[in-house]
């Protein structure tokens, strides 16, 4: 099962009245100032509105210059990972009512990646780490004329890590990554796991070698921030542990 937000016994839809909520948004525009500032916006919200709805209300009705990424708006494209009340979440998957709308809700860019403007960060370093771990099936020999067979059990072995949407919520929640941007980070390791534990793959030892680097898995301090942050409910820390274990048990 994938993650749901930790709401206390959510009330049925339609029963939550409209309310007023203040978003305290971290603003930064290098064309205007080198300094980032906080700005408060107060909007009317409906009971089931998400943080993304509130951001849209600000952008569409109040201040068009507020800048953030979004696309699918229901938690599958991974565009809108932001820090809400100090925790990494997807803005489109976080209902306002679940993050204490009685107090101002803080919304900031995710940490550890250079801020481009307002809530937008430069994702290139994140994707560069991803690309480095060979995130693709490696096979040798002739291609089969039909599909490769894989038992349901073998398929289940790496199911959890196939769910990753590359939103960077995990990597940018990691204290090791904050202080050392060279660290591969949880998302890259998750995507390595997805192939290392795929019975069809033959590139495991190469990937393990890459992750055995000083900026690899051994930098993980098992703080579990990544697991908490993952909007897809992936057991990220467990996946990292499994990669560490594979490194010890598999000869490469």
């Amino acid at each position: 099962m994938t993650a749901t937000l930790e709401a206390d016994a959510p009330a049925p839809a339609g029963e939550i009245p409209s309310f007023t909520v203040t978003l305290r948004v971290r603003r930064f525009n290098p064309e205007v100032s080198e300094e980032a500032t906080w700005e408060d916006f107060t909007v009317e919200a409906h009971g089931t509105d998400r943080v993304l709805d509130a951001l849209h209300k600000i952008k569409w009705d109040m201040d068009g210059s507020l800048t953030f990424r979004r696309s699918c708006a229901h938690g599958v494209c991974g565009s809108d990972a932001v820090r809400i009340n100090g925790r990494n979440r997807l803005a489109c998957k976080t209902l306002l009512k679940d993050v204490n709308p009685d107090k101002p809700i803080t919304v900031e860019p995710i940490k550890g990646l250079p801020v481009v403007k307002d809530l937008v960060v430069d994702m290139e370093p994140f994707f560069a780490s991803y690309r480095e771990i060979m995130p693709f099936l490696v096979t040798t020999g002739n291609e089969p004329s039909k599909e490769r067979y894989q038992s349901p059990e073998d398929r289940a072995r790496f199911d959890d890590t196939t769910k990753c949407i590359l939103c960077a919520a995990c990597t940018s929640s990691c204290p090791v990554f904050w202080t050392d941007g060279q660290y591969f980070g949880p998302a890259a390791i998750v995507n390595a796991h997805r192939f290392i534990f795929d019975s069809r793959d033959e590139g495991g030892s190469q990937r393990l070698e890459i992750l055995n680097d000083k900026e690899g898995v051994w930098r993980c301090r098992t703080t579990f921030n990544c697991t908490e942050a993952c909007p897809r409910g992936i057991e990220v820390t467990k996946a990292i542990q499994e990669v560490k274990r594979a490194m010890i048990t598999r000869a490469f």
């Binding site: 952008k59 068009g64 696309s71 565009s79 994707f127 599909e147 067979y149």
Partner: protein, 610 residues
């Protein structure tokens, strides 16, 4: 301004764009330009599966699949294209598996398959298990797998670049093209969101894979970014759009939100019920019931609500009942959609039925292409070096109603074909000269928008557009409702000229781009409604209450819509007096409708019963 030169330029990095890139980048120097990071593309939101007659779990063959596709599309499908789709489906699924896609498996380890709407054994006998899937995340897995293989093949991407113009060596909006004369696509102009800089890409071949335009509607399963960019750019440059009146409303959107709940829910045994608890699809489609094609199910749902059998406090939705399924089965096969119900509506699908209502989902129409993916500039002639694939294109394999799982198939089959064709063409072609200043239109458009005096908000106009489309051009349409929509769109086009943006900056100016995208939406909504007004029959996704029957004698033809200057002829190719002769005047241009024959090979049109 920066200028680049590539053999092949692909616009869009969803399933079709990346599948094309995997082919073309092996053969020709290729760049992929995308307004999103590739993994953000909306292919990733597709859930249920990808159809292919692998016959892994029961008897099946591509001929049955072809028939279902033709019948599902209410016979407006080009049958030669549907046959290619169904035949090449098998290799396309195997391609993905070999690339690493983690399909669900049968106990023997083969790719597992499940039932889906409109897919049947032996020409409608019963539902067949044809959809290859990975839980309810098939699109996610396809998008990830294609991106992974693009990384492996070192495909070059320009991410967060918005293509805002297509360059051709003839101005198709005004020029008469002499018989036998070539028209060539020569490049595209793009806007780099991060810096605000303009880039010109000169190319021998260009593939449009920009996706759909669901944001013309308010209730939609589509992403905010699906604003019909590629369709609108082609149309503005004088290329026709085909069959735009056919828009698919997916039956099961989360009520009030439009978020997609896969048809796989019904494929796995879910049942639609009205307020009385009745399984109402038994009345509308006695043989395959809840697994009838989407147009039929969506209409049946809307009809239940209209006749007072809707559920909920406002009786404005129906219920998708999964409560008779084992929770373990739901977790294994439908984990994401059940999570959507929990997250967004606070509904527990193990024990409560889920409120659902049709949601705007898919454009059957688009930029017309032949089966190689080459874009047509009229009923016959192509634009040399221009290709389109995926939802932006109209091959037409979906006719007037697409079957579920045929879109993930479409992007793979025709993405691959267009990628190959474009690379092949680029090998023999040379670069064509670009105009003196290829950026002039785009720069003028952006400057004008940025420098307008304070006017109306873009969001207000967009909201008004989406509301009139939902009200007047949705599942049920009439001549009156469509004319109402058209009158609203005319007014909104005027208001759009005075809309202004607040962000005047260069860097990451999404305010500016939303304003540009609204222009695309208005043009696409406009042509959709004009085509819908003209088609006085009901077929597939286009249901006219004032003309409730299919009229093969007069409308068994594809609509071709052209935007022309006011002084141009009122007759387009395929003009048919009384049927395909509609002309609609606007400020500075007119929309002229013509037609194109439907290609029929094996199957005679029959009444569509399920």
């Amino acid at each position: 301004m920066q200028t680049h030169q590539y053999d092949v330029v692909i616009v869009g990095a969803g399933g079709a764009g990346m599948r094309a890139a995997l082919e073309s980048s092996k053969e020709a120097r290729t760049a992929v330009i995308s307004k999103l990071y590739p993994t953000r593309s909306h292919t990733g939101a597709a859930q249920g599966g990808m159809a292919a007659a692998l016959a892994n779990v029961e008897d099946d063959n591509w001929e049955w699949h072809t028939f279902d596709t033709v019948k599902g599309g209410d016979y407006l499908v080009d049958q030669d294209a549907a046959e290619i789709l169904a035949k090449e489906a098998i290799e396309s699924v195997l391609d993905l598996e070999r690339m690493g896609l983690p399909f669900n498996r049968t106990p023997e380890g083969k790719i597992d398959q499940r039932r889906f709407g409109g897919h049947t054994r032996d020409h409608g006998q019963s539902a067949v298990r044809r959809a290859c899937y990975a839980a309810d995340r098939t699109g996610h897995m396809i998008l990830q797998t294609l991106y992974q293989n693009c990384v492996k093949q070192d495909v070059e991407f320009f991410n967060e670049f918005y293509v805002l113009d297509l360059i051709t060596d003839h101005d198709l909006t005004t020029e008469e093209i002499a018989e036998g004369e070539e028209v060539n696509a020569t490049g595209v102009v793009a806007y780099d969101l991060a810096t605000g800089e303009i880039h010109v890409f000169q190319a021998k071949a260009i593939i449009f894979a920009t996706g759909g335009a669901g944001k013309i509607f308010k209730t939609t399963s589509n992403a905010h970014t699906l604003t019909g960019d590629g369709m609108a750019l082609a149309y503005r440059r004088g290329l026709p759009l085909e069959d735009m009146e056919f828009f698919q409303f997916h039956p099961t959107g989360l009520a009030g939100l439009g978020i997609l709940l896969s048809e796989a829910a019904r494929g796995e045994g879910g049942i639609l019920r009205n307020s009385e608890g009745e399984r109402f699809m038994e009345r509308y489609a006695p043989t395959i019931k809840d697994l009838a094609p989407r147009d039929i199910v969506a209409r049946s749902m809307a009809n239940e609500v209209r006749e007072g059998r809707g559920a909920g406090p406002n009786k404005d939705y129906v219920l998708l009942d999964l409560t008779h399924l084992e929770p373990a089965h739901i977790d294994a096969k439908l984990p994401d959609i059940t999570e959507f119900a929990r997250t967004y509506l606070g509904i527990e699908p193990y024990t409560e039925p889920v409120p659902v209502y049709p949601t705007a989902h898919y454009a059957m129409g688009g930029v017309p292409t032949n089966v190689k993916g080459e874009v047509l500039r009229d009923g016959v002639n192509v634009v040399k070096g221009l290709y389109a694939a995926g939802e932006v294109a109209c091959v037409s394999v979906h006719g007037s109603n697409r079957l579920g799982t045929n879109s993930l198939l479409d992007i793979n089959v025709f993405g691959k074909r267009s990628g190959r064709a474009a690379a092949e063409y680029a090998k023999t072609a040379s670069f064509h000269e670009l105009p003196e200043d290829p950026t002039v239109r785009v720069v003028a458009q952006l400057d004008e928008m940025r420098n307008r005096p304070d006017g109306e908000r873009v969001a207000d106009i967009r909201k008004a557009l989406q509301e009139t489309m939902d009200l007047n051009a949705q599942v049920f349409r009439t001549g009156d409702s469509l004319n109402e929509a058209l009158a609203d769109i005319r007014e909104l086009q005027k208001r759009y000229r005075n809309a202004s943006v607040q962000d005047k900056g260069k860097l990451f100016n999404t305010d500016l781009l939303e304003a540009i995208e609204l222009g695309f939406l208005l043009d696409i909504a406009e042509v959709t409604v004009v085509a819908a007004i003209n088609r006085k029959e009901s077929r597939g996704g286009h249901y006219r209450e004032d003309y409730p029957n299919r009229d093969d004698a007069h409308y068994m033809l594809h609509t071709m819509a052209y935007r022309r200057p006011p002084e141009a002829s009122d007759q387009a190719e395929g003009h048919i007096e009384g049927y395909f002769d509609h002309v609609e005047e606007f400020d500075g241009y007119k929309v002229v409708l013509g037609s194109k024959p439907v290609i029929q090979t094996r199957y005679e049109p029959m009444e569509r019963k399920y």
